[in-house]
Symmetry: C2
Subunit: 254 residues, 2 copies
């Protein structure tokens, strides 16, 4: 499998403007779906281990007592469950092992603290990370004093060290997002959150990872229903928001 | 909306043989997906209430203390969650309210006992039912003495009475299914389960409902991975099995 630097990073960024008139929200914000199903998900090879990492959005109420691969209760009720179920269904011959190890409330430094157990020990072939909203939110509400510079530095160090220890790992960095006109998020989130998003995107670019542009997906979604339809508090997605995220994620990896 | 008797029932049955060479398991067992997204899910009208009913396969560990529409915890980790999330994402303008009221262990007579509270009071516009495997299984293991004739009689009565009380209801009857070479199901299930399946199918035909042919979907799936990949015990689907069911269900209603 030969993924050029250019195609790997830009894949998810193209087409954002061009498809706004197409009814599907995901098509409107991410490049169109591949037509032939046999060409889909070639990122994943036989016997691969895939890991979802992140905060509460990834955790989604999973049963942390039983951290098993490919088991619904170990996945919780979020985008990771929907995306993993779709992958397992789409690739029955590939014998994939998919884990969810997101933990509610995590910031990037907290991923680092548990990285040996919750990432390196699993030896993932494909690693998807969604982290950043708490780095901002907890700073905003006074529970944490890390800045966006700390976020970027810690995140970069985590990715660097992961690539050193697992040189063949394929990385997916997901954009931390916010949705205005919801119970927890108002317009004052926009400017600072954009800095965290830029930091994450720059890391994705520098390390040539896949990039899931969740912000543009939700920006498109709120044209079709009130913001709270997708996420009540502006951070945690409900059912349609989780589906939206899963579809966007699958589109990027597929 | 004008659904002719013929088109309504046969929709899900056509194409089963013709598409066997297509890689997608659902395409191989159910008619192909509609190409244009604006033509999808026209079954559902603005403000509709949709109800999933059934046994443990539908229940899927949902939180029965909070039986709310469109809320993940009220859905559990099964096909109903995946299908409902997909519908809510696909139809943001339609203001749908989707409920899951499946209860583990239920047989058809137990649906009838709780029908006022768990169906009629919700006034569903669209009702999907998956019931029957316990009617057989509990008889088989001596916990229940109802026969397939009782199942068909009770089921027919339930549908008849529902249509009398909610004359405009749109019904989806799902085929109860079994998967051989699993922990709970062996070859001796096949002949008796086929009788329950025939009974359900006959009711779907007689009442002109949509029909979700889950058996042929799983029969196709086991060509691609061991039976236990889809369902460990042969009755309850795992993540890929739940995804498979959701896709089949969505294909039939879409």
């Amino acid at each position: 499998m030969n993924l050029s630097r250019r195609s790997f990073f830009t894949k998810s960024a193209v087409g954002a403007a061009a498809f706004v008139s197409i009814p599907s929200i995901v098509s409107a914000s991410i490049a169109p779906e591949k037509e032939k199903s046999q060409d889909k998900y070639t990122l994943f090879e036989n016997g691969n281990t895939i890991l979802f990492q992140g905060d509460s959005i990834t955790d989604a109420g999973r049963d942390r007592e039983k951290e098993l691969p490919n088991i619904a209760r170990s996945f919780g009720l979020g985008y990771a469950f929907i995306a993993a179920s779709a992958l397992l269904k789409a690739l029955p011959e590939k014998n994939l092992a998919i884990y969810n190890r997101g933990i509610s409330g995590n910031k990037v430094y907290q991923l680092a603290e548990r990285w040996q157990k919750d990432c390196l020990d699993l030896k993932p072939d494909v690693l998807s990370i969604l982290i950043g909203v708490n780095d901002y939110w907890h700073k905003r509400n006074g529970q944490y004093d890390g800045t966006v510079e700390v976020y970027e530095k810690d995140y970069r160090k985590l990715i660097q060290s992961t690539k050193e220890k697992l040189p063949n790992i394929k990385l997916i960095i997901c954009e931390p997002f916010y949705v205005l006109k919801t119970s927890a998020v108002d317009g004052t989130w926009a400017a600072p959150m954009k800095e965290y998003q830029e930091a994450a995107k720059q890391i994705a670019h520098d390390f040539n990872t896949l990039w899931v542009p969740f912000q543009q997906v939700f920006d498109e979604a709120v044209k079709h229903a009130p913001a709270t339809y997708w996420t009540s508090d502006g951070v945690h997605p409900g059912m349609p928001g989780a589906q939206l995220m899963a579809e966007a994620w699958l589109r990027v990896v597929g």
